[in-house]
Amino acid sequence: MTNFSITSEPIVSAELIIQLEDPDCGAVATFSGIVRQHNKDREVTQLHYQSYKTLAVKEGNKILGEAKEQFNIVNALCVHRVGDLNIGETAVWVGVNASHRDAAFNACRYVIDEIKTRVPIWKKEIYVDGDSGWLEGAG
């Protein structure tokens, strides 16, 4: 099961959502995390994401498995991008399909929340003034 993947290519949500087409699923919920221009009032020009790939893929798939166990969903996918990203590009995409929307929404939310706290991926912001730094996680 490799429903969680890490890529250095641009994320195309249109290609991903197609994988969730299922005649028994009435609901598809998706989330895209996008590189923003500002973070805490500092102007960002670019982001760099680094992953501890082996463990990230393992933990990501564990989270998707948990979502399938805890919610009445059919499938859950997640792709996280690494490398250099520009403003407006998608850093992470989550998609979930289910018979009904309640499960789809809750599972999608669960996956992105867990990804953001458990999967070993780090973000470095590069600012317009040339400064840069690895973000401080919540720990």
Binding site: Q50, Y52, L55, V119, P120, W122, E136
Partner: protein
């Protein structure tokens, strides 16, 4: 590093994000005393690098999350995981 070979083991350490910038390397091989755990290795590394407090780091050995007290064996790969900031 200068200890008797029979009393020490070699482990591999991988660094990510801020830790990679502090150490200046993505991975290195380290000779540590038999019976070492991530806690003692971190103390040992702290003599060499100006590392952050270990309180907020997590540990992986051979790509599995582990505790700071897990005993290391020869050729283990150890990773100190800074608070994640993906997504």
């Amino acid at each position: 590093m200068t200890e008797n070979m029979s009393d020490s083991i070699n482990i591999k350490i991988q660094y990510f994000a801020a830790l990679r910038e502090i150490t200046g390397c993505a991975c290195e091989t380290l000779s540590v005393p038999v019976g070492s755990n991530p806690k003692t290795v971190y103390q040992q590394l702290n003599n060499q690098y100006d590392l952050p407090t270990q309180k907020r780091l997590k540990i992986a050995i051979n790509d599995c999350f582990c505790s700071w007290e897990s005993v290391l064996t020869s050729d283990d790969t150890l990773v100190f995981i800074p608070p994640v900031t993906g997504g």
